[in-house]
Symmetry: C2
Subunit: 191 residues, 2 copies
Amino acid sequence: MSTRQRVRPGGRSARVQASVHTAVRELLEERGREALTVPLVAQRAGVTPSTIYRRWGTLQELLSDVAVERLRPDTAPEDHGDLRSDLTAWAEQFLDEMTSASGRAYIRDALLGDPDGDNAGQCSAYAAEQINVILARAADRGEHGPDVETVMDRIVAPMMYRILFRPAGLDAAYARRLVTELFGGRGKGGQ
Amino acid sequence: MSTRQRVRPGGRSARVQASVHTAVRELLEERGREALTVPLVAQRAGVTPSTIYRRWGTLQELLSDVAVERLRPDTAPEDHGDLRSDLTAWAEQFLDEMTSASGRAYIRDALLGDPDGDNAGQCSAYAAEQINVILARAADRGEHGPDVETVMDRIVAPMMYRILFRPAGLDAAYARRLVTELFGGRGKGGQ
DNA sequence: AGCCTAAAGCACAGTCCTTGCGTTAGCGGT
DNA sequence: ACCGCTAACGCAAGGACTGTGCTTTAGGCT
């Protein structure tokens, strides 16, 4: 079962979903994730727990839904005039947002309550979308650069891997280094 | 609180931990993850639920512990005579193991019940260890290749990212391609 | 305007979580 | 080798959470 909700806007369902999502975000900030329970969220949202159980099934699936919504980029990547600057700026901002405690928590939540990998795929699609915008702009300028898959492999994947598995010592310099190495910086590879 | 157990071997604690871990692995295979509950594991392991709650706190932290134990490589990477072959073989095997349904489940469990990122770091350390063995062997042969961090960024991270976020269409060819590109294959990067 | 369906509320039963207290195993000291 | 001491386990009970059958309501559709 996909957890993403497809409710028509304006109806009661939409109101319930919105108020539940809001309740989750508020309670996450106020009391932290450990303190969250379905009944607590239900009370804050002004619904009964059974409503949440029926629509989301599990607290984790609900959290996953909220997380994906929160991880959706709300703005197009900034235009700095050339591909490399755009990628660098985007990577720095991405890493900065995702490295924060709440950012990591959202990523983990998105991965967590996600039986069929649907929500995780959505997160990846968001990043790919942003990168596509950057690459398309570069193509319009006449620059020719890597394709999306390469950027995902060389920039996004390493950042995400470290965020998830080795969160210590991550900073903007790492993001810049990845971009530099992608652009033919002296990669240490090769034999 | 770190969930990793530091019990002395031979004592009662060690016996309890072993029987609980075994119970988890057995029940995971028999009934699947959804059916797992703390009381169920406790019954199979021959302990009381409160013991599990006290030592692990949560089913997820327990699962995380078991997952990390299971993700530990039990054998040194094969020696194929040269660095590139070693890396390719290792990457193929790694991807194959991790792409399986149970492999992905273990990875997610390891990430999941892991408040301070301790278990996730351990997983990453396992991979780094294996790669270090491969690189050390290459150095002994007189080959000079990339350093560990580069291999983590270029091989491990992309595979893990796709396993977690885009599990569709992953195969050995992808692993080979990553190694090829690392070894100066025509990377599509650069402007 | 009225029907009809999907979703929410209500209530209750079953399970799980959590903790206080007593007991025990086994480590360390003499 | 014995004995005290501490950390860990078992037991039991209270409270909270999960999940479901049935009823009610909102709002889309003709």
